[in-house]
């Protein structure tokens, strides 16, 4: 008598699934996939700011890059910065996560203060550091001079090694709060009774930390390392504002070099080619870390 009730659209799981997913997929394909394809095309072309006509030139851009010492310098710097930053970010982040978790007087204030570096637009906070590291007016040098530790100011941004250290320091300063919050979530998910059991079983603070807490939060630590790596690897703002890659390209990284060549040098083909080098490296690092995380998962 009555026809079998057809499931309304709002109930059809598979249709709903595609409906939910498609906008996102289309959006990303259009605004990431397409530009990516374009960027690859650019890298194989001779497009410049002055001559926007598109001509295929094969791998010429790549040849030019590989012959350019600045490129190799940038590549090396990118690795060095990312590796050192990642290490420092994880260590300081872990310490900060523990501090955020602890109970002590004034913890509200500390929590507020400690989050500030991450919450500010990178351009603005880096500009602040530009003054803080100024070779004439640096307050840091002022304090060091007052303490009698140095005679004349240090060239934080002028001397190659110090410049690299400065760039790393600003990266780390900015990203530690983020890493700390991610690891905080991990710390909070360690079951309380496992930690109490360890305490009852005779483990002191350090043993509990290294044998229980850290192994159990290893996946989260890896994730925060990954985020630290991504944000450092692809960042050009810090270098752009602080040193412009200087002195003489000593602190140039791939991301900033791509920007300089592409925009200020007006060589779009080269800029795209340089930037393309970022991708496989990042992918490799991400795959490695995610694989490690999967292996570490303890249900």
């Amino acid at each position: 008598m009555t026809a079998p009730a057809r499931r309304r659209l709002a109930d059809r799981d598979s249709t709903l699934g595609w409906l939910f997913l498609t906008p996102t997929v289309v959006y990303i394909l259009a605004l990431v996939g397409l530009p990516f394809g374009l960027a690859v095309a650019f890298s194989l072309s001779d497009v410049t700011g002055g001559d926007p006509s598109f001509d295929w030139v094969g791998l010429r851009n790549f040849e030019r890059i590989l012959a350019d010492p600045v490129f190799w310098r940038s590549l090396r710097n990118t690795f060095v910065f990312t590796a050192i930053s990642m290490l420092l970010i994880v260590i300081f982040g872990k310490v900060l996560a523990n501090i955020l978790l602890a109970e002590f007087r004034g913890r509200w204030l500390v929590r507020f203060l400690v989050l500030l570096p991450w919450t500010t637009p990178v351009a603005l906070s880096t500009l602040t550091w530009l003054w803080l590291l100024d070779s004439v007016f640096s307050p840091i040098d002022w304090v060091l001079r007052r303490l009698g530790l140095i005679e004349s100011n240090l060239f934080w941004l002028g001397q190659p090694n110090l410049a690299m250290a400065s760039v790393i320091m600003v990266h780390v300063w900015r990203l530690v709060p983020l890493a700390a919050v991610i690891m905080l979530a991990g710390l909070l998910s360690v079951p309380k009774d496992v930690q109490e059991q360890a305490a009852v079983d005779g483990a002191g603070y350090w043993r509990r930390m290294f044998e229980i807490t850290i192994p159990l939060t290893a996946p989260v630590i890896a994730i925060s390392a990954l985020f630290g790596a991504i944000f450092t690897f692809t960042d050009m703002a810090v270098v752009y504002v602080l040193t412009r890659g200087g002195p003489t390209n000593e602190t140039q990284v791939l991301a900033s070099w791509a920007f300089f060549r592409g925009i200020e040098g007006s060589d779009i083909g080269q800029g795209a080619a340089i930037a393309l080098f970022l991708l496989p490296l990042l992918l490799a690092a991400a795959i490695a870390i995610l694989r490690a995380v999967r292996r570490m998962e303890v249900s």
């Binding site: 109930d11 799981d13 598979s14 699934g17 939910f20 997913l21 906008p23 996102t24 959006y27 990303i28 990431v32 530009p35 990516f36 374009l38 650019f42 900060l96 501090i99 602890a102 002590f104 913890r107 204030l109 500390v110 929590r111 507020f112 203060l113 989050l115 500030l116 919450t119 500010t120 637009p121 351009a123 603005l124 906070s125 500009l127 602040t128 550091w129 003054w131 803080l132 007016f137 307050p139 002022w142 919050v181 905080l184 979530a185 309380k192 603070y205 991504i230 690897f233 692809t234 504002v241 991301a255 592409g262 779009i268 930037a275 393309l276 970022l278 991708l279 990042l282 992918l283 991400a286």
Partner: protein, 293 residues
């Protein structure tokens, strides 16, 4: 007797260790706060410094050697486009967050719950999209932006920024969704709602912490973003804080340092306050286990 003395000594040893631990904690907390907020404290002070006070090498940078002045703040607020930039950042940020939520929640739900084919692979693919760096895309995106007629408009950011925020948001939300047990939705469906209804009425409220995390993360990313904002927008009236402040307050070689610091502090403090609120809720939510007898 000897045993009692020994226990006493042990107790004192542990009390000492405990104290040492507390002292270390306070020291570290103070150091962390100093390292993180030191620059902001300096920035806050500098905002009100007179030029003749600031540009003196040997003056104490942390006190007012000459009386403080609000000139630079006034410059920032009245004679630059700061308020415009702030407003732009605000509405762009809000729209981006809304778009992100509108797209990410369904996407995450379908991947986490609706047993899509290749669900896990798609999830990973979405995450990997995140890895494609803006420095690679901005050149071609500029072209697309021009083609869409959005060149030099803040709307270009509204359209483009979700590509940065959506991948991570989907990933985050999938994580949060996995912690919500399925039977709650199934209960809702048994009670008469459709799958869509269950999502809206039951899952979304439970997903609230995840949504908060997404909102905070997306907004900060948007406000902080530099490359696209720099590449797509030139006219001052359309700029956001991230590019507007540096370009307006750095004219050639002249840096309006005090106004710059004022901008930094004015932006950082409210955002950090909001962040802090959520962080405290977040921690409290986790550490409040039931206190049972």
């Amino acid at each position: 007797m000897a045993q009692l003395v020994q226990v006493d000594r042990e107790r004192r040893r542990f009390a000492r260790r405990h104290r040492a631990g507390r002292v270390t904690l306070y020291v570290l907390a103070v150091l962390a706060a100093l390292a993180a907020a030191g620059p902001f404290v300096w920035a806050a002070i500098t905002t009100f410094k007179q030029d003749s006070d600031l540009y003196r090498r040997n003056n104490n940078p942390f006190v007012f050697n000459k009386p403080p002045t609000t000139d630079h703040v006034e410059l920032l607020l009245n004679r630059t486009g700061f308020t415009t930039f702030a407003w732009n950042t605000l509405w762009v940020g809000t729209l981006v967050v809304l778009i992100t939520l509108a797209l990410s929640i369904p996407a995450a739900y379908s991947l986490a719950r609706l047993d899509m084919p290749w669900a896990s692979r798609m999830g990973i693919a979405i995450f990997f999209v995140y890895l494609v760096p803006p420095t690679l895309l901005f050149l071609s995106l500029s072209r697309i932006v021009v083609a869409l007629g959005l060149q030099d408009s803040a709307w270009s950011l509204v359209v483009i920024y979700p590509t940065i925020t959506i991948p991570v948001s989907v990933w985050l939300l999938i994580g949060f969704l996995k912690t919500i047990p399925r039977d709650i939705e199934e209960q809702a469906m048994v009670d008469g709602h459709s799958r869509l209804g269950a999502l809206v009425r039951v899952v979304v409220p439970l997903l609230f912490p995840g949504i908060v995390a997404v909102v905070v993360f997306a907004f900060t990313l948007t406000a902080s973003e530099f490359i696209y904002a720099l590449a797509f927008i030139s006219p001052s009236a359309e700029k956001v804080i991230s590019t507007g402040v540096p370009t307006e307050l750095v004219r050639g070689d002249v840096f309006f340092w005090q106004s710059l610091q004022a901008a930094t502090v004015l932006v950082a403090v409210p955002v950090a306050l909001v962040f802090n609120l959520f962080l405290n809720r977040f921690i409290a939510g986790f550490t409040q286990g039931a206190v049972k007898g």
